[in-house]
Each structure stands twice: as C-alpha cells, then as structure tokens.
C-alpha cells in the first residue's frame, strides 16, 4: 500500500520523465490558487464547505486547497479523504485494486462537498466517488475540482473547477507527481503510441 516503498525504480521521482512537461511546480501552485478562489467565489456560505480528496492523487491536492481556502476565509476548512475502490464498476475485470483509508471529518448531510481529484478522465472514478459518498449522508450539493481535465468522458460528468484542460489521445498517460507522495511537483504526458 505504501507507495514510498523502496526498490521500485519506475516510481522513483528522480527518473527523468520521458514525456512532455505540461505543468511545472509554479503552474500547479497558480492553478490551485485560482481554483481556491473560484471555490470561495462560488460558495458564499464558507462554513458549509467540506473538501474530500479522492485517494490517492486527490488527497494531497485537497490538503493544499484547504490550506489556501483557510487563507481566504480565515477559518478552518474541514477536509477528508475518500477511497473509491469498493465502488468501482470494473472490479471483476481487473486485479483487486489497493484499498486505502476513507476518512470523512464530519456529517456531510446538508453540506457542500467539493470532491478533489488529480486527473479527470472517463468520469468513472467520480461516479464511484458520488456513490461512496452516498453511504455517509446526503450533501446539499457536490462540486468537483480537478487539477487536470484530459477529456474522453464516458459518463455525463463535468468538473466545476479545472486547473488545466489538456487534449490527449486515449493511449496517453497523464502523470501527476506531487511533493507529498513523489517528492516533486509536475504534470507530464507520456505519449501512448501503439499499445504493447
């Protein structure tokens, strides 16, 4: 489970990325800052907002957004993490995914929940996240923030707050690396080309 386990060369932050750098550390910071302001603008009742990061990429992003929002609102912003492994729709088509902790800081019923994820792609993760969230209460509304929207939706889902829209082909891989987990802040596209 621990992604920082040693002896895994492909996960090493020092491996030079073979792909194209899309967002630098500064650009990521700027994008998150803008998203935080958009969240603040959209939600006048700031005390009602709860941030939930989707495991695992959304967790550090939701922590950063909570920090930025606290700077804007001058009060603590409740924040938690949501794991969606048990709610995936492809469980019998793949090896069992890692199941990470879910931790919801308060009753979400009647609150505005902002889901935070690193990459928005097919939309299936968000479908599963909304399903998982249902088990914890009935939010007044659910909003979605994603650092990267790479298109290719397979469900009628759209983000409320987007850091950067990136046109990709289906086979490309978008790698979001964050200081908290991978030691560096960057978003890279690796060209998929022909599938192995």
């Amino acid at each position: 489970m621990n992604t920082s386990a040693p002896g895994e060369p492909s996960a090493s932050p020092d491996t030079p990325a073979s792909g194209v750098l899309i967002l630098t550390a500064t650009a990521i910071h700027r994008a998150l800052n803008r998203i935080a302001h958009e969240i603040a603008e959209r939600n006048e009742d700031s005390h009602n907002v709860v941030l939930l990061g989707i495991q695992s990429g959304g967790a550090p992003l939701s922590a950063r957004l909570a920090g930025l929002l606290e700077g804007i609102w001058h009060h603590p912003v409740p924040r938690g993490v949501l794991d969606i492994a048990m709610h995936r729709d492809d469980l019998d088509q793949r090896f069992a995914p890692a199941v990470l902790p879910t931790s919801i800081p308060c009753d979400v019923t009647g609150r505005v929940v902002v889901l935070v994820d690193d990459v928005l792609f097919s939309g299936r993760t968000i479908r599963a996240a909304m399903d998982a969230l249902n088990d914890f209460g009935r939010p007044a509304s659910i909003q979605l923030a994603a650092l990267v929207d790479r298109g290719h939706r397979e469900l009628p889902i759209k983000a409320d707050f987007v850091g950067k829209n990136i046109p990709t082909s289906m086979t490309d891989k978008v790698r979001v690396r964050l200081k908290e987990a991978q030691g560096t802040d960057e978003v890279v596209i690796e060209q998929g080309g022909t599938r192995a």
Partner: protein, 312 residues
C-alpha cells in the same frame, strides 16, 4: 500492491507480502463496519455459497455478514440438511453449485485438503473456512490483524500458542502466518498434543507452561477439541487445568502488556479463567470484529479478474 490469486486455500502457500496486502486491505474494510451504512457494492451481483459440511456457528455467521456487507447474494448449504447425507460426493455437490453459477464457494470440511480439491475441479473462487486439522486461514489472518493492530507490528514478537496443537488447524495456520511475518512462536501443551515434530516448522516446543508464557508478548489459547481426539490425550480435564489452564497466578508471571487471545468458543475454567477472558488483557472480542474485516478483504481481493485490462 500485487494480488493475483484466485483462491484462499491455506496460509502455507502465501508470501509475507501477500499476508501484508490482506492485512492492509482488511484495515480499510474494518472502517466500513463502523459506518452508519455498513455495506459497499464491491460484490454486487455475485453469488456466494457457504458450503459447511462440518458444523460451524461463529465462522459461518462471520462469513455470512462479511458477504452481506459486500452486497453479495448468499446461499447456505449445510451438511445436516443436504444431499451429502444422501450419499452424494463432494465433487457432485460442488459441481451442482457451480451449475447454479456460484462465483465463490466458502467451504468448511472435516477432511484436510477438501478446499484444494474443489479448487481443481471448479472455476469458482474457493475459500477455505477450515479443513480438518490442516488449516483455517481466515482465523490466522484475523489473529495476525489483531496482534498487528494492538502491538503495531508482528516482527520480533514472542507469540505463545497453548493447548491442543496437534488437532488444531488454527494453530497450523497461525504458525505459518506468524513465522512468515517474523514472529517467534512457542508451542506449549501436553506432550501428546504438542509433539516435538512442530519444531520443524520453526517453532519452540515446551511442555512447561511457566516457561512458555514468561517472555510472551501474545498468548493464544486454544480449545481442547474433544471431537477430534479419538482417545483422550491426557488423563483428566482436571489435570489439564492444573498444568495448562491460564489462571490469575500464572497471568502474574507474564509481561504486564502480554495480550490474551482465544479463537472461541471458550471453555471457561478449562483453558482460561473467566476473570481473564473478560479482563482488560483479553482481545477475544476484538478478534471477532477483525474476523469480519479480514473475510471482507479476502473476498474482495480474490474477486479480482485479472490479467489487468483496464488502465488504473
């Protein structure tokens, strides 16, 4: 994390990494049981047959609740009221169940190796819920989860298993799991029930209770299984209590933080005094709760279809 097993048949064939994957996954499932809505859709539309050819209450209800919490559909098949009593073979029974499109078969059987046999003749996922005196893998998983949770680790701990080792599938599975994860295991009980041959599994064997418990971090007490012993393995129950029962006087010899485990059902006044079973060193009820978590984790993990076709 990598998990690509189709069945859970025993602990012996698992690696330390496999065990850690199950325990980590179980921790996430444990929190499901603490929610207001204690159910997730991971096995929605899947059918589980609980094939209990040997009677069981606690393991059966634990599996049943775990399956329900994963949204599976469940069929119970017990020996008393089944065609097995009418002379049907295990293979025919199992193939009948498979013809109903069962996705999982959880089997408890008095014959060692029955789950392995089923895994060879069926396509369904097979989970061993106890086979003869061979293994009881989910019990060992819940025991190790409870130890890891309470002590923060398994490696380097002294774990003493007391009682009827020879006839105990729990002991065998526990020995495999604990030694693979780096614990030092001591076995203790009457020499008829704790033969020296167990030293070959990497355990220390002693027939002196005081010696066995003095340096233990964990003491796991097993029930005397009268139903598996053809002849009585010791002169009298009273003598067993005198020599191997865990009482206040013996508890005082243990480390102050030594924890007391028991897979149940407890024979109060035989292997353990009532006061100790209900005391603050006992984790017997935590073991029951953790049983649900590990069984959910096992069902979830072996459900994986693989090879991986869908990008994460």
């Amino acid at each position: 994390m990598s998990w690509n097993r189709h069945h859970l048949l025993d602990i012996e064939s698992l690696s330390a990494e496999d065990l850690t994957t199950i325990l980590d996954t179980a921790m996430a499932f444990k929190s499901v049981g603490e929610r207001a809505i204690k159910k997730v859709p991971a096995l929605r539309g899947k059918t589980v047959v609980n094939l209990f050819v040997e009677p069981s209450t606690r393991t059966r209800i634990s599996f049943e609740l775990s399956e329900q919490r994963l949204s599976a559909d469940i069929i119970h098949f017990s020996a008393e009221a089944s065609s097995l009593k009418k002379g049907e073979t295990l293979k025919d029974t199992a193939q009948t169940l498979q013809a109903l499109n069962a996705d999982f078969i959880v089997i408890r059987h008095s014959a060692s190796g029955a789950p392995h046999f089923l895994s060879r003749v069926l396509n369904a996922h097979v989970i061993n819920a106890g086979d003869g005196a061979h293994e009881h893998p989910t019990q060992a998983l819940l025991d190790t989860l409870t130890i890891r949770e309470k002590k923060g680790r398994i490696e380097g701990l002294n774990v003493t298993i007391l009682g009827d080792i020879l006839y105990s599938r729990v002991a065998r599975s526990d020995i495999w799991a604990l030694t693979k994860l780096g614990a030092r295991v001591t076995l203790c009980g009457p020499s008829t029930l704790v033969p020296r041959t167990f030293e070959r599994l990497g355990c220390r064997v002693t027939h002196n209770m005081e010696e066995a418990i003095r340096d233990a971090d964990v003491i796991n007490l097993l029930r005397i299984q009268h139903e598996r012993q053809r002849r009585s393995a010791f002169p009298s129950l009273n003598e067993y209590v005198q020599l191997f029962g865990l009482n206040k006087r013996r508890l005082a010899l243990t480390k102050p933080d030594a924890m007391i485990m028991h897979p149940g059902p407890i024979n109060r006044g035989v292997e353990i005094d009532s006061d100790i079973a209900d005391g603050d060193r006992s984790v017997i009820l935590e073991q029951v709760t953790n049983g649900l978590a590990v069984r959910m984790a096992v069902l979830f993990l072996i459900n994986g279809g693989g090879p991986q076709e869908i990008a994460a």
